[in-house]
Amino acid sequence: MKILIVEDEKELVKDITEYLSGENYLCEAAFSYKQAAEKIALYNYDCVLLDLMLPGGDGLQLLQLLKQNNRNSGVIIISAKNATEDKVKGLQIGADDYLAKPFHHSELAARIYSVIRRKQFDNSNFIKHNEIAVDLLAKTVKVKKQEINLTKKEFDLLLFFIGNKNKVISKSALAEHLSGDIADMFDSHDFVYAHVKNLKKKLTDAGYDNYLKTVYGTGYKWEI
């Protein structure tokens, strides 16, 4: 799957590319408005990560360009502005998601995963992951065909882990995923531990292979 990263900060592009490389993704980068416009005109991408402040132009214009070309690519705006108006405007024009900088790579990966999945399986909303099957629409999870009851937060966590296979995910990234911007305001994210523990217990009880590992002192890893 092809991803275009439109972002003028080269270091960030490098890290995002590296982080996503483990997945089935092929990342390309555009560092300016012009470069991005050219690439959008020539190629088709599954997902475009779009910074709004670009040398040579406004990211929102690029978004319009994308929509005019009628490309069926998912768009995630990554912006440092974090202005509600920009967010609303971007989503109105047709962006699929909005992520404020600075973000956790795991959060970005989860969002990309979700956007691409939405675009690809237009009607089917199932994720199969070895013995685990997730029905996104009904929000149900089955392990070995046996349905397990997850809370909303546990369900979110599971999707987050699946979207970040083989990555170490810090507790703060999980906290931010669960409670949004508010997580920023706290240093202690101990509640994450409780949710993960519950999720793990439910999955284990249903007999899944132990994919969810605790990385000492740092966070968790969905190893597959």
């Binding site: 982080y19 974090n82 509600t84």
Partner: protein, 428 residues
């Protein structure tokens, strides 16, 4: 404090009093001397007339004797007595005081007298003329009374004029004062002073305008600096965060290295938080939030509580919510969310483990209280970075943002400490 115009008024009044009091003896002396001089002249004229008349009617010695006898009997003011002195006495003028023998009231009168020598039929006679003069004390009293009457008139006039002048000429000053009073640095609007046509006030207005302009400029520069600085910091912070996360993905990390990376994360997220909040403050100050809508406060409150539920639970905090009536406010939704969030986050982070949070909605007031040990200084509480920086959980900006939002909508926010409860109340 006394009013400015009352100061010269007081001085003027005292000065007028002194001058008028001094004028009383002067008037008296002038009036009295005129009196006496006129009477002397009067007496002299009478003397001349008497002398002249007696000499024009030609009468003999015996008749004269008879007439003088009757004269002296009937004319009490004058006396003509044959002079039997060897030499003629010089004219003399004198003042005498005695009781008026013919008055029913026994009072002392003052008389001005002329004693002179006249010649009738070439024989010397001694003539004395006495005319009543106004009493000195009576003159003095009259002058004093009149003077005080005029003094009262002056003072009354001063008061009336003072009021009128105060109202009229100080009007431009009052206009300026009201404008300056209503000036708010945050609204970013310069003041337009009215033209008064009075040099002093124009000068004052010009200088005030300059001062305000400079203030606005400096304030704007400061705002711009904070905004630019935090904008510039955003990218390096994002990269730093990204790098730390990439480092975590390293498969060969030892336990110690992992711990080190984690301990970088804590201050890093604090810097990110401070930076975010500074940007937010700058945005509120720059009025970069849309005007707003009618919002039900309780809905937002419940949404926020739900988002915070994990943190509340993790600390074992119990929430006691008393909402006696729903509060509807007109504001920007994001700002209202931030305001409530900051208060709630504050109540959570500064709470004790297993503490309590009370949320009360009464009429137009929302109060968020949490358990605490000692009172905080309400003077510095809302200032930026006033809380000790050693507390890593704090950006030091939460309450100043809350205050800024309240100021924007003219809501009142205050802090009280009672029964071991820190309470923040907002009047919408």
């Amino acid at each position: 404090m006394s009013k400015l115009l009352n100061k010269p008024f007081k001085a003027f009044t005292i000065y007028a009093l002194v001058v008028l009091v001094c004028s009383v003896p002067v008037y008296y002396m002038v009036v009295d001397s005129i009196w006496l001089e006129e009477l002397d002249e009067h007496n002299l004229i009478i003397k001349e007339r008497i002398e002249n008349r007696f000499n024009t009617i030609e009468i003999n010695e015996a008749e004269l004797e008879n007439i003088l006898k009757i004269w002296n009997l009937l004319q009490p003011g004058t006396q003509i007595i044959a002079s039997n002195l060897p030499e003629v006495k010089a004219d003399s003028i004198y003042t005498t005081r005695r009781t008026n023998a013919y008055s029913s009231v026994n009072e002392i009168d003052r008389f001005r007298g002329l004693s002179s020598c006249i010649y009738i039929n070439k024989k010397p006679y001694h003539l004395t003329i006495e005319t009543n003069v106004e009493e000195a004390d009576e003159t003095f009293l009259a002058i004093t009374l009149v003077t005080f009457l005029f003094f009262s008139l002056l003072v009354a006039g001063f008061i009336v004029l003072n009021r009128r002048i105060a109202k009229k000429i100080w009007q431009p000053f009052r206009n300026t004062l009201n404008k300056v009073k209503s000036f708010n640095l945050l609204t970013d609007k310069n003041i337009e002073f009215e033209k008064s046509g009075i040099e002093e006030f124009e000068e004052l207005n010009t200088e005030l305008s300059k001062l305000i302009e400079r203030n606005i400029l400096i304030f704007n520069q400061q705002k711009a600096f904070i905004e630019n600085a935090s904008h510039e910091l955003q990218t390096p912070l994002a990269i730093l965060k990204s790098k730390v996360e990439m480092l975590l993905q390293n498969k060969d990390l030892t336990e110690k290295q992992s711990e080190l990376i984690n301990s970088i994360n804590t201050p890093l997220s604090r810097v990110t938080r401070i930076n975010k909040n500074l940007l937010l403050l700058a945005k509120i100050e720059n009025n970069q939030f849309a005007e707003g809508e009618h919002i039900d406060l309780t809905t937002i409150l419940n949404e926020n509580l739900e988002l915070l539920a994990d943190y509340i639970e993790a600390k074992g905090i119990t929430i006691e919510k008393k909402i006696s009536n729903p509060i509807r406010v007109f504001s920007n939704k994001t700002l209202l969310e931030i305001l409530l969030n900051n208060l709630l986050i504050n109540a959570i982070t500064h709470n004790s483990v297993n503490g309590k949070i009370h949320i009360d909605c009464v009429e137009k007031r929302l109060t968020v209280s949490n358990t605490g040990n000692s009172e905080l200084s309400s003077n510095t509480l809302f200032k930026r970075f006033s809380i000790s920086s050693s507390e890593t959980t704090n950006s030091g900006l939460g309450l100043s943002i809350a205050k800024e939002i309240c100021a924007r909508y003219n809501w009142q926010i205050n802090y009280t400490f009672q029964n071991n409860l820190h309470s923040f109340s907002i009047w919408f």
